[in-house]
Structure formats: C-alpha cells, structure tokens
C-alpha cells in the first residue's frame, strides 16, 4: 500500500500528508515526543520552585517501584521497590480499564468523558453487592459483584449512547452530566443518613466493608499491606478482549467503520445508531468493571471523599489519548500514569526531595500538557520543520 506522504515528485508534501505519514509510522512518534516535552516543561516548573528537577524525577521514579526491573537493585531496596511497584500496578489496573473505556468509544467517533461516572457507578454497585449477601460462596459472590457493576457501568454509558442514537444529543454533554449525577448520587448513598451508609460506623460517611469471601485474592505481596490482586490479570484480559472485539468481530468492524465515516457506514448498510449505543455501553462496561475491581481488590469500602476526589476515569481520557486508542498503547500509557500517580503520592515520594502535595499537582500538569500536545498532532510536523530549518541554518 502506498504511503500518502511519499509523493515526493509532486513537490514538498503538505502538512496533512506529513501528518498522515507520521500517524501510520507506528504512531509512536507523537506520544513519545509529547511525553518528553511535557516532562521537560514539568521539570521547569520544579526548577521554578527551587528544587532540582533531575533529583525530583529520580525520587518519583524510585517511588514508582519501576527500579524493581533493574537486576542490580538488591536487598532491602529491592523489597521496597517490589512493594512500590505493587502500588503502581494497583493503579495501572483501573487505568487500563478506564483507558479502553474511552478508547473504545473513540474508535466509534465518540468522546466518552463519562468514564468517571461509569467508574463510580461500578464502584457503588461493587461495594453494595460485595458487602451484602454474606452467605454466598466466594467465587459466585465476586462474579455477581463484578457482573452487576459492569452492567451498571454499561447502563450509565448506554444512557449517553441511547440519547446519541435516538435524539442526537452530543455524548460529551450527556456524559459530563451523568458524571455529576453519579458524583452526587454516590455522595447521597454513602453520606450520613444515606441508604448505603455503614451500619456499624454511623457517624462516618463510609460504606459497609466488602465481606472477606468477596475480596479478590492477592498474588504478589502482602494481602494486609495492599498487595497486587488478580484484578491486574482481568485488566490485561480486558485489553485482549478489547483488541479482539475491535479487530476480529463484526461489531468491532462496524464500530470502527462508523468511527471513520458515519455517512459511508450508513450507506454500506451498517446500523450507525446501533453502533453508537453499543460503543457507549461497552465503554461503560469497561469503566464499571474498573470500579468493581478497585473495590473488591484493595479498597474494600468507599467513602464520600473517595466518590468526590477520585479521578481514575478522567485520567483514562489521558491514557486513551496517549495510547492512541490501541490496546498496546493503552497498556503503556496506563503504566506511565499509574506510575506518576503512585510515584508522587505521599506514601512513596521522599518528602525531603520534593513535597508530595506539589508533586501531585505536577502530575496533573504533566497530564494536561500531554493531552494538550497529543491532541494537536500537527505540532510534531511543525516541530520537525522548525528543527530542519534550524539545522539547515547552521552551516
């Protein structure tokens, strides 16, 4: 197949042609470059506060536990790295799922900003099912909680899909609204006097605890100190499912066709409305699953603060954009953001190097910059052009 950017005999290729070329060249140029620029700008912000950016990034990196991968880290620092890496992967797990929640809708040409709401609805359902029905056998209980939470997420996403399919309401608007409905409903349910508020701690705005038999087993690390639970494999499995559904099934083909060009898809006999609904429902399913896995895997209960301060679904947008809506890209993007969040947390970051409260905001800053730059891929073309001119100017 001919690359559209290779028509050199027709004069210099246009910006659009160059862009198309970069997008096809594995699509890794833009994410890598924008990531580097975002971290560089973040470093300047660190420098502005009078700290050493290289030492700060080094401390954040150590806090992520990714140094566990280096064979020369041994002894006590190795076991610390292992425990840090478990935390990073605990965060990576829901980010993979909310990432593919956003990515799946993107592939259908829809922008699912509602990952957050779908995640919360999933978490609410997960904690409700997980903390009631104590007599149910463990495996069945976990399955029931996960399935119902996923369905709740699918319902939340499906509302937006249905409104898009029937009356053409823009999914960005409806998902933003649904996020806030979930936020306040969650605050009501677990708030003081709310219907799902804890029956033992009546003065704390928290849910009941998930019963022991419904907790996901921990396979790496200490179960008491938040080791890594099997939900990580569920997320990896979801990545595979995401890839197969998109690339090897009729539904996925239709979803992608609608994403490329809804008019052409309609002409080709594809049910565009059905695809809109399905894409949003499947999106919500993944995000709802993320909520359930977090609850059953390591949170075990949910507070009003958790409902209000959680940003897993929002980070999922950055994950999907940086991962270019592909399975592999989403995995690495989720790992990056999971590592950033865990490496800048109060628990992991060495406060003598850089204050964790500052670092937490640094994470948001870097996320924002990455989304900003990834969203404008022509920047890469302009940057390369500017670089060429600079090189040519130097004899």
């Amino acid at each position: 197949m001919e690359e559209p950017g290779s028509g050199a005999e027709h004069g210099p290729p246009s910006v659009a042609a160059r862009l198309a070329f970069y997008e096809r060249a594995g699509g890794v140029v833009t994410p890598l470059l924008t990531g580097a620029i975002a971290f560089a700008i973040g470093g300047i912000a660190v420098l502005a506060t009078g700290h050493n950016p290289i030492r700060t990034y080094r401390a954040i990196f150590d806090g992520t536990g990714l140094n566990w991968l280096f064979p020369w880290v041994t002894g006590a620092s190795r076991s610390l790295a292992a425990s840090n890496l478990q935390q990073t992967l605990l965060l990576t797990t829901p980010l993979i799922l909310t990432g593919i929640a956003v990515a799946f809708a993107f592939r259908c040409g829809l922008f699912n900003i509602g990952g957050q709401g779908q995640y919360i609805v999933g978490a609410i359902t997960g904690v409700w099912v997980g903390s009631s029905l104590p007599a149910l056998p463990g495996v069945l209980h976990v399955l029931l909680a996960v399935v119902l939470a996923s369905l709740a997420g699918a319902l939340w996403g499906g509302i937006a899909g249905l409104l898009k399919a029937t009356v053409g309401a823009h999914e960005v608007i409806t998902t933003i609204m649904l996020n806030w409905v979930a936020y306040w409903v969650g605050s009501y349910l677990f708030g003081l006097g709310g219907p799902l508020q804890s029956s033992t701690q009546t003065s704390v705005p928290v849910s009941n605890d998930v019963v022991d038999s419904a907790k996901l087993p921990v396979f790496w690390g200490d179960p008491v100190l938040q080791g890594l639970h099997v939900g990580f494999f569920v997320a990896l499995g979801a990545l595979v499912v995401f890839w197969i559904v998109l690339n090897r099934t009729t539904v996925g083909y239709e979803v992608r066709a609608v994403g490329y060009n809804p008019e052409a898809a309609r002409y080709g006999g594809i049910g565009v409305r059905k695809s809109y609904f399905l894409a949003m429902a499947v999106s919500g399913l993944f995000a709802g699953l993320a909520g359930a896995i977090d609850i059953l895997g390591w949170e075990f209960h949910i507070t009003v603060d958790d409902v209000q301060a959680s940003t897993i679904g929002f980070i999922g947008i950055a994950v999907a954009l940086l991962g270019r809506n592909t399975a592999v890209g989403t995995f690495f993007a989720a790992l990056l953001f999971g590592a950033l969040v865990s490496g800048t947390s109060t628990r992991h970051l060495d406060a003598t190097v850089f204050r964790p409260e500052l670092a937490r905001n640094l994470t948001l800053l870097i996320q924002g910059l990455i989304v900003l730059f990834v969203g404008a891929p022509v920047l890469v073309v302009y940057a390369r052009r500017g670089w060429r001119k600079l090189v040519e100017a130097i004899p």
Partner: protein, 391 residues
C-alpha cells in the same frame, strides 16, 4: 400566529410552579389535594397545548405540573417549623443570586466561544484559574480591583491557549478543553501549595474583597433579597443585557454568529473567521475567570485546590439549557442557583441533610432532560467544534 396555545402552555408552566409554591410558606397549604389538583390542571393544560402542536411549551407544562405536584405533596408532609426554617424567600433569593453569578459569567463567556464555533468545555479550568489569580492578585497588590484584573488576564491567557490549539493547530476542541481543565487544576494547585502551603490563603482585608453594594438594610422582602448584593452580581446583570445587545443587535454579534453557523460563507463576505474566533474564545476565558474571581474574592474569601468543584460544567449546562442565548442561560443559572441555595438551606435541617445532597444533582438531571428533547431541543451552532481551514 398561534398565540392562544402558546399562552396556555406558558400558563401551564406557571400553574406547575404554583402547585409547589402554595405548599410553601407563607401560605403553607397543608392539604395534599391542593398541589395535586393544581398540578393536574397544569398537566391537562400541557396536554391540550401539545394537541395544538405546541409540543415544546406543552411538554414543559406537563413536566412542571408533575414535578410541582410531587414537590408540593412532599412539602405538605414536612413539619411547618422545618419548612419555615428553610423557606425564607428573601434569603433564598439572595443565596440563589450568589450561587448563580459565577455560572452567569462563565455561561455568557461560553456563549461567545460556542456561538463563534469553538466548543469550550474548558470553562471549568478557566474559572478555577480566575479564582486562584484573583485572590493571588488581591493578596499581592492589596486591591480587589487589581486582583480581578489579574484574574481576567490569566483567564485571557488560558483562552488564548485554547484558541491557538483549536483554531490554528486544528486540534480536537474537546481534547484541548480537557487538557486545559487538567492544566488549570495542576497549575493552580501547584502554585497554591508553593505560595500558600498548608496555611491556606491569608484572611483578606476589606480592601481586598469585592465589596457588597448596600442599598437597603430593611426587613422587607426586597431589601432582604436585593439590599446587600455583591458588586459582581450587579455587574453580571449589566453583562447580561450588554451581551444580549452585542450578540443579537450589533454587526459584531452578527459576525460572531455567522462564523459559528457557516464559516465559509462568512469568510466569503470578508469576515475574518480566525480573528473573530480568537476574540470570542479569549473573551470567554476572561468572563469565566471573572466568575472565578467573584467566587474567591467576592463570595468565599479564600481559595482551595479545585475550589470551583464543577461549577464550570454547570455553567456549560446552563448555556445548553438556555439554548446558547444570554437570557436563557441566565434563567438556567438562576434555576441551578436556586437548587443550590435550597440544598444549602435544607442541609441545615438534620432530618433532611442527606436529601439536600441529592438536590445538587438536579441541574445535571434537568440538563439531561433538556438535551433529550423533552422540553424542546437544544440545537447548538451549526459549525461548533469544527476547525475552519482557510481556502
């Protein structure tokens, strides 16, 4: 002209509101029948209006009738003492205006941006930026006016960033807006922690607070509601009228709307699409930041990380609910402000505080209903969200 059905529909909406109002103080009707009968009447009028092909007003009357009857029945079951504690009309109106004002500023800002064809979901971030830089500026200069101006400048810069990415770099406008929301959250949080640390923002002197305008200290309803409003509330009223005149009665407004509806046609007759969009998006940043500055130095008198807490998104909802028109958006902002005010006052009553939280979801549910087309479709400007490439 189809005047009679339209008048009937409007009357139906009023009847629906009346069903609720009758059950509240000062009348505080205790019989369940009253709100039910009045609400049913509103529904009947609504159905008749729909049958006369005025579906929009008719369904509005049906929705108003049903919700008025439901809320009215709820109110008749509440204790009179509690009701009188919550429903103090003058205080409710004043609180409604306080909650509505940040929304009004941001929604009108959003109107300029979206009418010119650039989606602005970054209102939240721009408002947050204004809130931080407003208090930072007031703290550094000692003057609220300087704080307000610095906030507006900061909002303009974020507006400019959004404009460059949306217009020149042809980035997806929703992705760009999401990025700005992240950026604003990170930047204001970063600066807040770095500058003020764990102590929080210092107490503001009166010269650092946007002043209240005292018209009257009386005890009657009008003095209670309007006697001591913040200056920015009056500014928002003026802005409302001004933005309506500019948008619908001047050539400038016509150009903005033309660029947002059909940029190619506007370009053909010599209107600069890029310049118009740049100006509109920067203006939206300035106005959203004014709403934020009101919040920090006019209303709460402090700043906290993520203090806007979704108000920018409610403003967006108000804009859509109000069909991208100034008075529509203002009406929606008042409705949302009223639900916040009611929630605040309900929160003070122990038996009801948990339900008060649910009230906060009302603006979002109403907006969902509005975009679903039950109360008439909200149709955005035709070219909104699409980058324009000059031919």
């Amino acid at each position: 002209m189809r005047t009679p059905p339209r008048a009937a529909g409007a009357g139906g909406v009023v009847l629906g509101a009346l069903a609720f109002w009758l059950a509240l103080p000062p009348l505080a009707e205790r019989s369940v029948a009253v709100p039910l009968v009045v609400g049913a009447l509103a529904v009947a009028v609504g159905i008749w209006t729909i049958s006369q092909h005025e579906a929009r007003l008719g369904s509005g009357a049906v929705v108003a009738g049903v919700s008025g009857a439901l809320l009215g029945v709820l109110a008749t079951h509440a204790g009179t003492g509690n009701l009188e504690g919550v429903v103090v009309w003058s205080a409710l109106v004043a609180a409604m205006l306080r909650f509505a004002t940040p929304l009004t500023f941001a929604a009108i800002g959003g109107m300029f941006s979206e009418r010119s064809g650039v989606v602005n979901i970054a209102l939240e971030g721009m408002m947050l930026t204004g809130a931080f830089f407003g208090i930072w500026g007031a703290d550094r200069t000692g003057s609220w006016l300087a704080g307000l101006l610095i906030a507006m400048a900061a909002g303009a810069i974020f507006g400019l960033v959004h404009a460059v990415f949306a217009i020149h770099l042809r980035a997806d406008q929703i992705v760009g807006g999401t990025a700005i929301n992240f950026l604003a959250l990170g930047l204001t949080g970063f600066l807040f922690v770095d500058v003020y640390g764990s102590n929080g923002t210092p107490d503001l002197r009166s010269s650092q607070q946007i002043p209240d305008v005292t018209i009257s200290n009386g005890n009657d309803f009008l003095s209670g509601a309007f006697g001591q409003l913040n200056l920015m509330i009056w500014v928002s009223f003026a802005l409302l009228v001004l933005s309506y005149v500019v948008m619908f009665r001047t050539p400038v407004g016509l150009r903005i709307r033309a660029v947002g509806e059909h940029p190619l046609a506007a370009d053909t007759v010599g209107i600069s699409v890029y310049a118009t969009r740049y100006a509109a998006v920067v203006l939206s940043g300035v106005l959203a930041a004014m709403g934020g500055a009101y919040l920090s130095i006019g209303f709460v008198h402090s700043f906290n990380e993520n203090m806007t807490a979704g108000r920018g998104f409610i403003a967006l909802a108000a804009l859509i609910f109000g069909k991208w028109r100034p008075f529509g958006a203002f009406g929606a902002a008042l409705l949302f402000g009223f639900s916040s005010a009611l929630a605040q006052r309900l929160g003070g009553v122990t038996d009801w505080s948990s339900y008060a939280v649910l009230f906060q979801a009302l603006p979002y549910v109403l907006t969902l209903i509005a975009v679903a087309g039950v109360i008439g479709r909200s149709i955005p400007p035709a070219a909104v969200g699409r980058p324009y490439e000059k031919q």
